[in-house]
Point group: C2
Chain length 112, copies 2
């Protein structure tokens, strides 16, 4: 994962600011967590800590609900997205591996 993605995944926001950033109520935010649409971290005392990605996710949820999708629909949408991201990552690491082999060959015969 890139530096940038790591930063976007840092759990740094409390539910209060997330509420302000998303215009959702905390009831809604907690409910969506309960439905496994987001999985915020927890601070020492047990308080939720959200990442910027969580905020994006919540905004997406809001849009999906507004346009008539149900929570279950959104769960499937997210599951599909996750599978695609996984496939992409898999194919990229496969590519990396095959490139490594290729370079290893070059190294063996052609180097210096």
């Amino acid at each position: 994962m890139s530096e940038r993605e790591l930063r976007r995944n840092l759990s740094i926001l409390t539910i209060g600011t997330v509420r302000e950033l998303t215009l959702l109520t905390d009831r809604q935010i907690r409910y969506y967590e309960q439905q496994n649409l987001i999985t915020p971290g927890r601070g020492k005392g047990g308080q939720r800590r959200f990442s910027l990605n969580d905020v994006d996710q919540l905004l997406a949820i809001r849009d999906f609900l507004d346009s008539g999708d149900s929570i279950k629909d959104i769960q499937e949408i997210f599951a599909k997205q996750h599978r695609k991201a996984q496939e992409k990552q898999d194919s990229e690491s496969a590519l990396r591996r095959s490139l490594q082999k290729e370079f290893a060959q070059i190294g063996r015969f052609g180097a210096r």
Copy 2:
């Protein structure tokens, strides 16, 4: 100001996460605010809200103090930085203005 700079200036962090991100105590953070080294916003109930820029600033303060600078030194350093940033912005907007004039001339005589 760019979109990116705006985002970096959003007041979204509570003192708790800032404490974790900077490894400072809240006593220190509040003291530096009192010394006008940072000026976090305030939430509805009066609680401090920090931006990512504030965090950067606090990390810088920590480094300066570690290397022997006093708070007053840091105040002057920041004041100098601020002056420079201001000058830069001034000269840039002056440049923009003069370019605009130039294009206006071209427009007057050379266009279509």
